[in-house]
Amino acid sequence: MIHLRRYATLVGFGLILLAFALALPDTFLTAQNLINISQQVSMLAVVAFAMTVVMAMGDFDLSVGAMASLAGVVAASLFAAGFSLPAGLLAGLGTGLLGGLFNGLLVARLGILPFVATLGTLTMFSGAAFMVSDGRTIFGDDIPEAFGAFARGGLPVGGLVLPSLSLLALAALLIVWVLLEHTSYGRRLYAIGGNMEAARLAGVPVRRLRASAFAVTGLGAAVAGLMYASRVASANPTQGDGLMLNAIAAVFLGMTMSEESEPRALATLAGVLMLAVLDNGLTQLAVDSYLRQFLVGAIILAAVASSRIGLSKG
């Protein structure tokens, strides 16, 4: 029963892959296309891995998309003002860390529900991104050549090139996986997600951990924002906004595949890949973008619903 439930999503995923492979025999299951997919999805992947960290505690962060945009424009504005590449990058990452910490303090210190707190900071970060950039897209000569070149580059393997962005996402996966699965820190986060009061009374420093986990998520969002800016060699105050919903969807999709329906790093990876493949395949099939959106939403709901069947009884 449990196995049926866990694998329903994976089986569905397999069927979708098969359908695309049959419908697009020449273009879908090619090494180049798969590499493209991995690059397209790398930003989403980083945000989703970061989101998994707070969701392990049963929390949410709605501000990740806005933070990605903000980190991008902060770095780009510094470039435009003549600061060096490392200075801009550090400022972008620092923004993510501090913004995430701010979320964490709202949630852990003031006890504001994460949904409400990060809805508030979503708006704040978004407003800040507009203020920093004056509402404009920063591009062209303002952006250092090396910054844009990073996303275009990669690691040559055989006849193919593994894109830097994909490798960065892989590194993020590795970090989050080790953090959640193999450290005491991760165990404690899951304990908080299991029963916050019990965890506190068992000596888990709940406030500190919650604040720090939000900081990690903020940092992840900033990394994704910088990756995005590098990829398009420009930054505007809304470019990361779409990441949040998809990241949450990816974690949820992953949870349908994990034991005890918990957010896990590798399960999130599976969720991310599913979204990416769907998007890529439907685009190649020239499915209208609104219909595509509709289908992706329906498939997410179907996966989550199938994982609930049999869960209520027993």
């Binding site: 029963m1 449990i2 193999h182 450290t183 005491s184 820190y185 991760g186 165990r187 404690r188 899951y190 304990a191 997600g193 299991g194 029963n195 009061e197 019990a198 965890a199 506190r200 009374l201 068992a202 000596g203 888990v204 420093p205 005890e260 918990e262 027993g314």
Partner: protein, 502 residues
């Protein structure tokens, strides 16, 4: 025969929890259901309640076939339940909780008649002498005992069908002596009116006094059904465990006090006041009082979870811990009163629940050592005879008493300096209780100072060297247990002038 069950089978994922169980309940009898932790009592009750239907069962109500496929079936048959795990909706009022799942009294067929609802709830509470509970207050604000009493009261409000069978799964585990007495009076009254009562408890004394007949389960099979009068205490225990258990509280020699683990001088905090005592290494200090007299508050205070204090307090050679995490770090361990709310991550594994406070010690450079975690958990599971399938099993699937053992395993993994126990044997069977007493004593012998809050007076007297008595949060006495009997302790708790007050 009111209810007659034959050939009841129930398994979870291929592991049988009940096999070929038979049960007969007569109108006008109190029928005790006994068995060790994990024997299948609660599972049987959930089957009767239609919450978790049987794989196979032949049930007859007044001789007519009965299907128990859903809670509605059980309600229609006139069955009423108080389950082992307290399910309340904290954000609803007491009255609404009492009527939960039943139709509320209405005016003009639509609007809820709040006045009548509150009055009916108040009447039901009144039968337990609970005039201090306002039916309009939020249920979440009630203490543990009051929550249980509220659930018990909810059985009494008449629903759409006349209740004929009342089933109670360890109702007294969370009650004080006086509250239990009131429950027994209500049970006797129900029996006199011709209802059947199926009653689960690990407290043999009350079962012997209350029940007319007894059915004993062992490993999911029925091993005995007999009239209580024909079955001695030893007979029940032997049927439950398959062995002889000596229920003795051997007196310990008073410990040689090498040092102090904890010292309080005129400490007040929140509703606690006038606390002055010293707990020596290797000493077991009992904490007694009426329901909610401040026992739990005192333990939380020493765990660093009590807010600001006045007076001087010292724990484990340092100031009062500022947080539970600091307390555990200094060698303070804690078994909370409500295992499900304050103790366990129900969805997480036995290992994860056991090692949680010790992760720091069990890891290297922050990296978890899973093998070591599992070894430590296995060691404790064996010592406490934890009934489980695998250590990776979520705690939710364990029986109530076995969940309690997990909380105890966590607190005793490292020999702590100070061990805070709040009702440590709640819901634990006779045999396991002796194991736990042995563990507590051996920790004390190794120098752990132990603070033991318990409403089980023989347990308190049997284990403690001295007993601290609280009334309304105030320390009103500190007595040696030498020569104290339960009646004497009870009169001290109620405040009749006797004993050595400080």
């Amino acid at each position: 025969m009111l209810l007659s069950i034959r050939g009841l089978d129930k398994s979870f994922g291929g592991t049988p929890a009940l096999s070929d169980v038979a049960l007969d309940l007569r109108a006008g009898e109190v029928h005790a259901l006994m068995g060790e932790n994990g024997a299948g009592k609660s599972t049987l009750i959930r089957v009767l309640a239609g919450v978790s239907p049987a794989d196979r069962m032949d049930a007859r109500l007044d001789g007519a076939p009965l299907v128990l496929g859903s809670p509605a079936d059980a309600a229609r048959a006139g069955f009423r339940f108080v389950h082992q795990e307290l399910n309340i909706v904290p954000t609803l009022s007491v009255a609404e909780n009492i009527f939960l799942g039943r139709s509320l009294p209405r005016r003009l067929g639509a609007a809820v008649d709040w006045r009548r609802l509150n009055r009916m709830a108040g009447d039901a509470l009144g039968r337990f002498g609970l005039s201090h509970i306002d039916p309009r207050q939020k249920a979440g604000r009630l203490g543990t005992g009051d929550r249980m009493l509220m659930r018990l009261a909810s059985m009494l409000v008449s629903g759409d069908t006349e209740p004929r069978l009342f089933v109670m799964d360890e109702p007294t585990a969370a009650l004080t002596h006086a509250e239990s007495e009131r429950l027994f009076a209500v049970i006797r009254d129900l029996r006199a009116r011709g209802a059947a009562i199926l009653y689960v408890s690990h407290r043999l004394d009350e079962v012997m006094a209350l029940a007319d007949r007894v059915t004993v389960l062992r490993d999911g099979r029925r091993v005995l059904t007999a009239a209580m009068a024909e079955t001695g205490r030893a007979g029940i225990i032997r049927a439950m465990t398959g062995r002889d258990v000596t229920e003795a509280h051997p007196r310990r020699a008073a410990p040689a006090r090498a040092g102090t683990v904890c010292r309080l001088e005129d400490v007040s905090a929140g509703r606690l006041s006038g606390l002055s005592f010293e707990l020596g290494t290797g000493e077991i200090l009992g904490v007694a009082g009426l329901e909610n007299a401040g026992q739990s508050d005192l333990l939380h205070l020493l765990l660093g979870d009590g807010g600001r204090i006045s007076g001087r307090a010292e724990v484990a050679d340092a100031a009062l811990p500022r947080s539970p995490s600091q307390a555990w770090g200094r060698g303070v361990a804690f078994v909370p009163r409500e295992r499900r709310r304050e103790g366990l991550m129900l969805g997480r594994s036995i290992v994860a629940n056991t090692v949680l406070p010790h992760l720091g010690r069990l890891s290297v450079l922050g990296l978890a050592r899973k093998r070591l975690e599992t070894d430590e958990s296995r060691r404790l599971a064996q010592a406490l005879r934890l009934r489980h399938r695998t250590l990776a099993q979520p705690v939710r699937e364990l029986s109530g008493g076995n969940q309690q053992k997990v909380v105890l395993a966590r607190a005793t993994l490292d020999a702590p300096k100070l061990l805070l126990l709040d009702e440590p044997t709640r819901g634990v069977d006779v045999g396991a209780r002796e194991d736990i007493y042995a563990t507590i004593r051996s920790l004390a012998a190794q120098g752990t100072g132990i603070l033991l809050a318990s409403t089980d007076l023989p347990e308190l007297i049997g284990l403690s060297d001295r007993i601290l008595i609280l009334r309304d949060g105030r320390q009103v006495g500190l007595v040696a247990t030498q020569g104290l009997d339960p009646e004497g302790l009870l009169s001290l708790i109620y405040g009749e002038a006797r004993g050595a007050h400080e």
